[in-house]
């Protein structure tokens, strides 16, 4: 049996927003997070660590956007986190 439709997003627009939030938003959160770490620690060590942690974190963040009941909350959170991380990066 395929997944029960009643639990899935019906509107194609909403689905598009979810995919975009997960891929682009997830990516920027993941990247700015590692960017921040690279300011705090030896950058090459963080870069090489992110080869493993980065992709996994990105995939998990992508999943989060599908899992959330309200995608706009996730979008807001991702934007906020990205701004926060890159803001701290800028200050440090």
């Amino acid at each position: 049996m395929p997944a029960n439709k009643k639990h899935l997003t019906k509107s194609p627009w909403l689905r598009f927003v979810k995919i975009l939030t997960g891929t682009v938003g997830g990516y920027t959160v993941m990247f700015t997070f590692h960017l921040l770490l690279s300011k705090l620690f030896l950058p090459q060590n963080i870069v090489v660590t992110s080869f493993i942690t980065g992709y996994i974190l990105w995939a998990v963040l992508l999943l989060m956007s599908f899992l959330a009941k309200n995608v706009w909350k996730v979008l807001g959170m991702y934007v906020a986190l990205t701004v926060l991380f890159s803001g701290v990066c800028f200050i440090v």
Partner: protein, 552 residues
């Protein structure tokens, strides 16, 4: 588990899976065979590397002398990248650093020369890139030296699709392979979450002869659970090795301010140290072989992976050796020796087995895990089996997807579409094994097969077979006939090798040509497995008939 979450996992798993399944199958299939890349090369060329390692001495001086007969070597840089089987090298010879000798290079050729990394054909300047075989002391260009091992290896990251003229920062094939492995990672995570609560019971559930649907489901989950760690490793390391541009490009921009060579230097990919050209001829004579012998003795448990010569024949001539430790000695580490020829002084020496940096540790970890080169043949065989299991998981996934949607309440149009999707995917995927065996057998009958011969044989036979199966419109028939073809062709491979080249199991065994023997045995085993599966399927069909009759 929350019913809503369960359905979200289910749906995302299904969609990401069905999008990538066909390409992922190609990647898994070709990748599994790539664990035996050197053996396949040895098999095709009929020159055993196992045997050769004991007999052949690598004569770098001879190679340089023979280059010197055709070219003025003064002031050039050389790069010898030694292949994993140790008996060949990719050689790059640059134009001279001596501006008085340097030929006028057309600006266009220069630009092309810069763009190519390693694999190109060289521009109009007199730099050269070629492949050198130490056993036969012969050089050939890349297309001539191309073989089936290289073909399957490159197919597993879709390199052949690089000719598609879409460039988004990285060649199309690599980008596609990267996207596929990322979606694969996503499908793995959702799949794990989906089965999380039942993971223990699923591990022990296998009802092979119940119903087709349950067979596929059990196969999918049982193999998926067993193979999960392995597949997770390959998903992550796969992205890193082929499409790391996702991370490298922004890091270059934001951490290294656009200076990519600084990044690569920090990550220990390359050494960009410049060696000044002095315009003074060197007085001392020098032999690369002697230096190699000395260093090989010093770094016993390592293999020298690259030899670089800077400013050949100049007073400021340097030789740089790079070595990698054998994995049983040390999992990470890179040995480096910089040797100044003028006064025979070692300027820098880093032992391959000591004090590797964190960067080196992580990179070696990624590399060794992906290549499975840390435990000799047994680990590669295990990885091969796990890889083929990956193929089975993909196939069963496609079938679950189809069977779940093959119901009366599904609109006719959708069912037709679903069937054709599964039909095309199954035809393309399952014909890979017979096509691989067929291509390898055909190569026995071509005197000097090159890159285009392999391309034609493989891709055309793949196309023809796939089209035939698609046209037959029956999944059971595809399954049955590919098994039949596989058992036949995989059996013919060692047989023809014996008839055509006298490489019977016992002869290759007694001559110590174990790599050739291994490929013959591998295909014999694949053939036997195909026969067994065919036989079991027939038996199963029979018992089912009897049951049905008894019920009536």
């Amino acid at each position: 588990m929350d019913n809503r979450k369960y359905n979200v996992y289910f749906h995302t798993h299904t969609i990401s899976g069905i999008i990538i399944c066909a390409l992922l199958y190609v990647i898994f299939f070709a990748g599994s065979f790539s664990f035996f890349k050197e053996d396949i090369s040895a098999w095709q060329k009929n020159t055993s590397y196992v045997e050769g390692r004991k007999k052949v001495t690598r004569d770098f001086d001879h190679l340089i002398d023979s280059l010197g007969r055709e070219n003025n070597l003064k002031g050039r840089d050389f790069d010898f990248f030694i292949q994993r089987h140790d008996l060949g090298a990719y050689v790059t010879m640059t134009g001279s650093n001596d501006t008085t000798l340097k030929k006028k290079v057309k600006p266009k050729a220069m630009a092309e020369g810069k763009k190519r990394r390693g694999r190109g054909r060289g521009g109009d300047d007199d730099s050269k890139y070629f492949n050198y075989d130490f056993a036969q002391q012969k050089s050939g260009d890349y297309a001539e030296a191309y073989d089936m091992g290289e073909f399957l290896y490159r197919l597993h990251f879709l390199a052949q699709l690089n000719s598609v003229p879409i460039r988004l920062g990285t060649p199309f094939g690599y980008l596609l392979a990267g996207v596929v492995s990322f979606l694969f990672l996503f499908a793995l995570i959702t799949g794990l979450m989906l089965h999380w609560e039942k993971i223990f019971s699923n591990f022990f559930t296998f009802r092979p002869w119940a119903k087709w649907k349950t067979l596929w489901t059990d196969l999918h989950t049982a193999l998926g659970v067993i193979g999960f760690p392995f597949q997770l490793i390959f998903a992550v390391t796969g992205i890193v090795l082929i499409a790391n541009v996702f991370l490298i490009a922004p890091y270059t921009k934001y951490v290294y301010k656009g200076n990519s060579s600084a990044l690569f230097q920090d990550l220990e990919y390359s050494d960009t140290t410049k060696y000044v050209y002095s315009y003074q001829p060197i007085e001392t004579s020098f032999s690369v072989n002697d230096l190699m012998t000395k260093v090989e003795k010093k770094w016993e448990h390592s293999r020298i992976s690259a030899v670089q010569i800077k400013n050949y024949g100049d007073a400021n001539m340097h030789v740089i050796l790079t070595a990698k430790p054998y994995a049983d000695e040390s999992f990470s580490g890179t040995g480096k020796m910089i040797y100044r020829v003028r006064d025979q002084k070692i300027l820098k020496e880093v032992s391959p087995v000591k004090n590797s940096s964190y960067v080196d540790k992580v990179r070696s970890f990624i590399y060794h895990l992906h290549f499975g080169d840390f435990g000799g043949k047994p680990v590669r065989v295990i990885f091969f089996v796990l890889g083929i299991m990956g193929c089975l998981i993909i196939i069963s996934g496609i079938l679950i997807w189809l069977v779940a949607r093959d119901k009366n309440n599904v609109p006719k149009k959708k069912r037709v579409f679903n069937f054709w999707t599964a039909n095309i995917f199954m035809a393309a995927c399952l014909s890979m094994l017979p096509v691989t065996a067929f291509t390898m057998i055909s190569l026995l009958f071509i005197s000097k097969p090159n890159q285009s011969d392999i391309y034609h044989l493989y891709f055309y036979s793949w196309l023809i077979l796939s089209v035939y199966f698609i046209a037959r419109r029956s999944l059971a028939l595809i399954n049955h006939q590919t098994l039949l073809l596989s058992s036949l062709l995989c059996f013919l491979l060692p047989l023809m090798d014996g008839i055509k080249r006298n490489n019977w199991f016992w002869t290759t065994f007694s001559q110590g040509r174990y790599d050739i023997l291994f490929i013959d045995l591998l295909f014999l085993i694949l053939s036997i497995i195909s026969v067994l599966v065919l036989f079991k399927m027939k038996q199963h069909a029979k018992t089912k008939e009897i049951k049905v009759m008894a019920q009536e």
